[in-house]
């Protein structure tokens, strides 16, 4: 195992563990310290004081697909960003060749973005 790698990662892991431990401890602590006076109304989901019992099931319905569409668009663009990072780091070494190839890449992407817009994927309807 590469010792340098571990040395690099160790503080992060420790900080993460610490950051995880404290909220967990606090939540457990508050479960111990807090009073306990449950009743049905208090534990029911808050819906402005009125329960919608007439609606079958609970809050989990088939939901508007719009939100998933946004997630899809995000995936496409985020992958592109991942490509951009190493390119940006080596940009000055690659010079014009790198610039032109990225121009091509972004051109394709801009076309896709334009297509999304024209097809109404970016409209909230």
């Amino acid at each position: 195992m590469n010792f340098e790698f571990i040395e690099n990662i160790l503080p992060l892991v420790l900080a993460l563990l610490l950051a995880m431990a404290v909220p967990t401890a606090l939540i457990l602590l508050s479960a111990l310290l807090g009073p306990r006076k449950d009743n049905e109304t208090k534990l029911s989901p808050y819906e402005c004081g009125i329960q919608t019992q007439a609606i079958p099931g609970d809050a989990r319905h088939r939901f508007n697909v719009k939100f998933y569409l946004v997630a899809m668009c995000f995936l496409v663009f985020d992958v592109e960003v991942v490509f951009l990072f190493p390119w940006a780091v080596l940009f000055q070494k690659m010079a014009w060749g790198g610039f032109l190839s990225m121009l091509g890449f972004l051109g394709v992407l801009a076309f896709g973005w334009f297509y999304l817009w024209k097809r109404g994927a970016l409209e909230w309807e």
């Binding site: 819906e47 402005c48 004081g49 009125i50 609606i55 319905h61 508007n64 909230w124």
Partner: protein, 381 residues
Amino acid sequence: MTDLLLSQIKVNDESQFGTDDYVVNLGPQHPATHGVLRLIVKLDGETVKETIPVLGYLHRSIEKICENRTYPQCITYTDRVDYVSAMSVNLAFALATERLMGLEAPPRAQWLRMIFVELQRLASHLLWMGAFAGDIGALTPFLYGLRERERILDLFEMTCGQRLTYNYIRIGGVMIDILPEFVPKCRAFLDYFEPKIAEYEDLLTYNPIFLERTKGVGVITPEVGINAGVCGPSLRGSGVSCDVRKQQPYLFYDQVKFNECLETAGDCWSRYKVRMRELRESVSLIRQCLDRLEPGPIETKLPPVLKAPPASEIYSRIESSRGEMGIYLVGDGTVKPWKCKYRCASFNNTYVLDQLTRGWKIADIMAVLGSLDMIVPEVDR
């Protein structure tokens, strides 16, 4: 009751494909519905498919109570009809009773009434501005509005001892004469207040996000507005002249100079603009009233027992802060009204909510509801 109401909504959860309709209660306990209005909202994602206002959570049968009280006793109840603009309702009932019985208040009382009703309009519009801005997410104007409203309430407290439910405007006059220092204090307040209007406008009027949220949102066309009985600043935002102070002047509104504020677009921004302009108009109105105030009696001599003539009826209306405030009274020769009906602006203004919000977003419900300036006790009574 809950189940009955909800079962009337057709929910699309049968179809195999497509989205389930999402039925959400906004209210009665909700940070944005002013008071305890309940809206049942049917959503498709973020889009509103239907809005059903459910009334009655603040129903106190004020009309029926008034039918079992003597006329002077009723004034106390009018305070509770619209607690944000209690002076206006006081005035509406006092005027209706006076007209029913053929009385008239002395001139000083009339000027005082005008001063206090216009101050009340300022206070009400300030609270509205804060609540409207809060509804669309700007929290600061609320505090600014309340800061000046406190000064107005101080003036009220100085005169009648109350800050919310005044019971000040009585049948035949007003409760008590103003203190000698009222007039200079009122003038000082007006001088302090007028520049503040510009401050509110700086904060909101041309803020790009505010414009995005209010321009073109919730457009009331003149036809829709008139058909639904929308009134007051909400209808004036659509360019329809409907100010009772101009059309059927009461008190001395025909002797003072003021403009009816009209905008044409009919959207939330126009309604906002109308009210902001009304603030300025009211300031100039109060100044004129203070100039014309002369010493004199503040109450007419009333008969020991106040009885309406037999088989008499009256529909008397004034322009309250929210629009046309009408009172329908039927007298039967006794000390109590045989029939008492309040025609409140908020009730009719709320009626258009469904039409205005269909196809818009959840956030627009709040913007539209805020811009209509509804007060729940006025709706439910």
